[in-house]
């Protein structure tokens, strides 16, 4: 029995968090940085405590924690008078329940999936969909599209990790592709044709019926759903596809972020010297667009190093998931891994103009106490798992 925590995860999270403090100082000054440091110290303490709690306790507590987090979101949905309804205020500071819901949902889903030895049919996915769908829908209603979307990759990857067939998952979630393709009738028709050919040769009637019915339905109702989106959400999507059309509107963020990163060049403008940041051209400098500032001040070299740290951390988590023998622990770590990986990819993808603007914080680096604490809670549990990874 190895009783040692994974040192890689420790120093990688540490490095990223310190980098975050540094970038918050550069973008928002010492007052905000002090707040972040306070949160960081608190988060580290929580992580240390969590790393000493046995995974078995988490398994037993998971329904309670999950229920609590759902209740918190329901409370703000009904009680909060600030729009969007994302925060609960506790005196001087406020927390974002959606961040803790991520942790709770990963926990709950891991606990459920670990009890199921075999996952084969679509019906086996009903409960996992319900577990992730509930917080996703509630958070979507806040509304916080950025936070709500994370539950889909969590569901997919964790079920996959738990043994669900990859092809089945692809078919199950193919309606999302159908939705994306439905913005143009031509792409949608081509997509449907390819899907039908694939399903035909698979020779499984349930897959074929499900695939055809769900994809057609989604493809037909998507245009209606589009019109029900909030104007700012529609604008974000439009702005992504043609940012220079309206340089003052939503695409201002994308344009300024790309200018910041692009002007950083190979080596960057130097720490604290980013003009896009300093002169406030860059929006959401210390939160969602902190990576743009990093790209501006440290250039391609900086971006590659930071991305390397993330990839290595994610890889360490993935390897931990693989090596962990306990089924619950393994599935849980895979959930933590995809949570951090997905947020990192979406956040960076937005800042470099690869993806449409969705408000997703960069794990460990973006300013924000709740997101930091939630990530550290996840890391704390992962560390406790790493100590006992060889135990069944």
């Amino acid at each position: 029995m190895i009783k040692k925590i994974d040192p890689g995860i420790v120093w990688l999270t540490g490095a990223l968090s310190l980098l975050g403090v540094m970038m918050i100082y550069s973008t928002a000054g010492s007052a905000i940085m002090t707040r972040q440091i306070t949160w960081l110290i608190f988060s580290i303490l929580v992580a240390i405590i969590f790393s000493r709690i046995s995974p078995r306790i988490w398994l037993n507590l998971s329904p309670v924690i999950y229920s609590l987090s759902i209740v918190m979101i329901v409370i703000i949905l009904f009680k909060s008078d600030i729009y969007p309804k994302r925060w609960i205020k506790f005196g001087d500071f406020s927390i974002q329940p959606s961040e803790f819901a991520k942790f709770a949902t990963v926990l709950m889903l891991a606990s459920y999936l670990s009890t199921r030895k075999k996952l084969q049919s679509f019906s086996d996915m009903a409960v996992p969909i319900a577990i992730t769908g509930l917080p996703a829908v509630l958070i979507f209603l806040e509304p916080d599209l950025g936070a709500a979307q994370i539950f889909l990759p969590i569901l997919i990857v964790m079920s996959y990790w738990a043994g669900m067939s990859g092809v089945k998952i692809l078919i199950l979630f193919s309606p999302f592709v159908s939705a994306a393709a439905s913005f143009s009738i031509y792409t949608w028709v081509v997509y449907m044709a390819i899907l039908m050919v694939f399903l035909y040769f698979r020779k499984q009637l349930t897959d074929l019926v499900y695939g055809f019915a769900s994809n057609s339905l989604v493809g037909l109702i998507m245009p209606l759903l589009w019109s029900s989106l909030k104007t700012y959400q529609q604008k974000r999507i439009i702005a992504f596809f043609s940012p220079w059309l309206d340089p003052q509107g939503m695409s201002w963020q994308i344009i300024q972020s790309k200018i910041a990163i692009g002007s950083g060049g190979l080596f960057g403008k130097g720490f604290l010297s980013g003009t896009q940041k300093k002169l406030e051209f860059l929006p959401e400098r210390h939160t969602d667009f902190i990576f743009s500032c990093l790209g501006e001040e440290f250039g391609l070299v900086g971006i590659t190093v930071v991305l390397g740290l993330y990839v290595y951390l994610i890889y360490r988590l993935l390897r931990l998931a693989k090596e962990t023998r306990n089924r619950f622990s393994s599935i849980f770590v895979s959930g933590i891994m995809i949570w951090i990986a997905y947020q990192t990819f979406i956040n960076i993808g937005v800042t470099i103009g690869l993806l449409p603007v969705t408000g997703v914080p960069l794990p460990f680096i973006s300013y924000g106490g709740s997101a930091l604490l939630a990530c550290f809670m996840a890391i704390g549990v992962s560390l406790s798992i790493s100590k006992t990874k060889l135990a069944y």
């Binding site: 300024q256 002007s263 060049g265």
Partner: protein, 576 residues
């Protein structure tokens, strides 16, 4: 565990692929398109700021400023960063419509460049804006040199005015930028290139809200070059006097010039307009009122309005007759009994003059004598001599929009009336009525032939020592004969009200027939007769006879100017 190993590989590879995409995409932005984004970042950060040059002053002949510059506060907005709150507050402070502010700011294509939307705001407005400086985004206040006309409407028609440049004007001359002022009329326009100076350039660092953060020293700034002053020949004191003398009349034009040098002393047109109002930027409504005013205040009557010269043209008929040796000075025609019959038509004189010689006919302005003289001289000779003197042609003064009037000749009559034109048209021409049209400036220059004994200067407003002359090629004897008659007009003829004690004044009265109302009163005169220093051409619209209205005012103008010359001379001798 086999299942897990596959999943591990799939996810690991996916992560590596996505990371590679991110790195490659960043490389595209930072390395391959790095120059472009660096430029965009610099454009964000650095703004080329133009500091407008103060315009050259315009000075009267004694060096007194008749147009100068004063500092004024302007407001500019940066369209890309102005927000609704700022816009509505600003619209209240400036009492401008929000849409007007937006409309004005749209002149500039780059939404990040500040555009001036209001000039010359008051201190009250300035302090209100300064108070809100922290809340406002995309609003700047600055100081700029503004044109100032201390004598308001007195020199409007000569100096003209400046206004903010339009996009069409920039199209024509790319050395201008938006927000520049440009001469739109008068001297401001004619001498624009001398007066304008050159904008200075400065590089400043601005933040996202368009606020200046610091000056940039790596890029060399160029200070503005002030425009060059224009020294004119205008006489401020005399202009003021003319305005006072014409106080009781609504519409009038007056040209005073030095007949020897062609220097314009006064160029006055009434009604006028205060050009300072243009500096604020006139609203469209005000413009419409100004342009549709039936009294046409924008119109420079002295060079743009053409009137029938009436009897003031008679000296030129006499000149044509004498020069062509058609008659001599002693020539007498049929006696004037108040009317003259030509075929079935009757032409009238304003008085029964009896028998007169040429001098007497000029002195008493007898129409019947000139009908017969004109008929005898013939339209060809009259048109030829009048053309030599400058009628029907621009004088060449340094103003744009000068009108050339109409000098009808045989061809002109044929074109206008076909071959049916009659002696009646020549009769009308002989007393300066009918189709003949002259501008006050033209008439003044034509009279310079008498004041200068043959030489006619090209009039100019800018001060210069090299006056250009042209010679009308009219016999000296004829000029002298008519000139003596002109002295008689003031001494004992129709223009006695123009007399100035102790000075011999030459002149001619005129009444310009006006089909739309009361006749216009004209007088052209110069003095002193032996060494003319001032020549005045005055037309008072709808005032009746030349002898009764225009003549006495001309007398006062001449007296006032000669007195001031006297004073200057004594001051100079005192200094010595």
């Amino acid at each position: 565990m086999d299942e897990k190993a596959v999943a591990f590989k799939v996810i690991r590879n996916l992560i590596f692929i996505l990371a590679a995409i991110v790195v490659l995409w960043s490389m595209k932005l930072q390395v391959f398109e790095g120059k472009k984004y660096s430029r965009l970042s610099e454009e964000n950060r650095i703004r080329r700021k133009f500091n407008p040059a103060p315009r050259g002053r315009i000075l009267d002949r004694h060096g007194q400023e008749i147009a100068n510059t004063r500092p004024g506060f302007y407001v500019s907005v940066v369209r890309a960063v102005i927000d609704q709150l700022t816009l509505s507050t600003l619209s209240d402070i400036l009492s401008m419509e929000e849409t007007e502010i937006i409309e004005k700011s749209k002149i500039e294509k780059n939404p990040f460049s500040p555009v001036k939307i209001a000039h010359d705001i008051s201190y009250a407005q300035l302090s209100l804006i300064e108070e809100k400086a922290d809340v406002f985004s995309g609003v700047e206040v600055g100081v700029e040199p503004l044109r100032n006309y201390p004598y308001e409407e007195l020199f409007f028609h000569v100096i003209g005015y400046v206004g903010e440049i339009t996009c069409e004007e920039i199209e024509k001359d790319k050395t201008y930028i938006l927000g520049d002022y440009i001469g739109k009329m008068g001297l401001e326009r004619y001498y624009e290139n001398i007066l304008r100076g050159a904008n200075g350039v400065e590089y400043v660092e601005v933040d996202a809200r368009g606020k200046e953060v610091s000056k940039i020293t790596e890029k060399r700034s160029i200070p503005p070059t002030a425009g060059v002053d224009v020294l004119t020949t205008m006489d401020l004191a005399l202009s003021e006097s003319v305005a006072v003398y014409l106080e009781d009349h609504e519409k009038a034009a007056c040209v005073c010039l030095d007949p020897q040098s062609g220097e314009i002393l006064v160029l006055y047109s009434k009604p006028s307009f205060d050009p300072n109002l243009f500096t604020h930027g006139l609203q469209k409504k005000e413009w419409d009122i100004l342009n549709n005013d039936p009294d046409a205040p924008m119109y420079n009557r002295a060079v743009m309005s053409c009137y029938p010269p009436g009897s003031t043209f008679k000296p030129f008929i006499a000149l044509a007759a004498l020069d062509s040796k058609t008659v001599g000075e002693e020539k007498r025609f049929e006696r004037c009994l108040g009317e003259y019959r030509l075929g079935r038509r009757t032409f009238r004189c304003w008085k029964k003059h009896g028998s007169l010689d040429l001098t007497g006919a000029i002195v008493n302005s007898c129409d019947i004598y000139f009908y017969q003289l004109g008929r005898l001289t013939g339209v060809d000779t009259i048109a030829d001599r009048a053309n030599r003197i400058g009628f029907g042609k621009k004088t060449g003064i340094d103003l744009l929009n000068e009108k050339q009037g109409i000098l009808p000749d045989r061809k002109w009559f044929e074109k206008r009336y076909g071959y049916n034109w009659t002696q009646g048209h020549v009769f009308n021409l002989s007393i300066g009525q009918g189709d003949l049209l002259v501008s006050p400036l033209q008439l003044a220059c034509a009279f310079a032939i008498f004041a200068n004994l043959g030489r006619i200067p090209i009039p100019h407003i800018i001060s210069r020592t090299d006056t250009t002359y042209f010679t009308a090629d009219i016999s000296q004897e004829a000029i002298e004969t008519v000139c003596e008659a002109l002295a008689g007009v003031v001494d004992h003829g129709t223009g006695t009200l123009a007399r100035v004690p102790g000075v011999e004044v030459c002149g001619k009265t005129g009444t310009s027939q006006n089909p739309h109302g009361e006749d216009h009163s004209l007088f052209v005169g110069f003095a002193p007769a032996d060494n003319p220093r001032i020549l005045v051409c005055l037309i008072v619209e709808n005032a009746g006879h030349g002898g009764s209205v225009a003549a006495p005012i001309t007398g006062r103008i001449i007296k006032s100017y000669l007195n001031s010359l006297q004073q200057e001379l004594s001051e100079i001798s005192l200094e010595q």
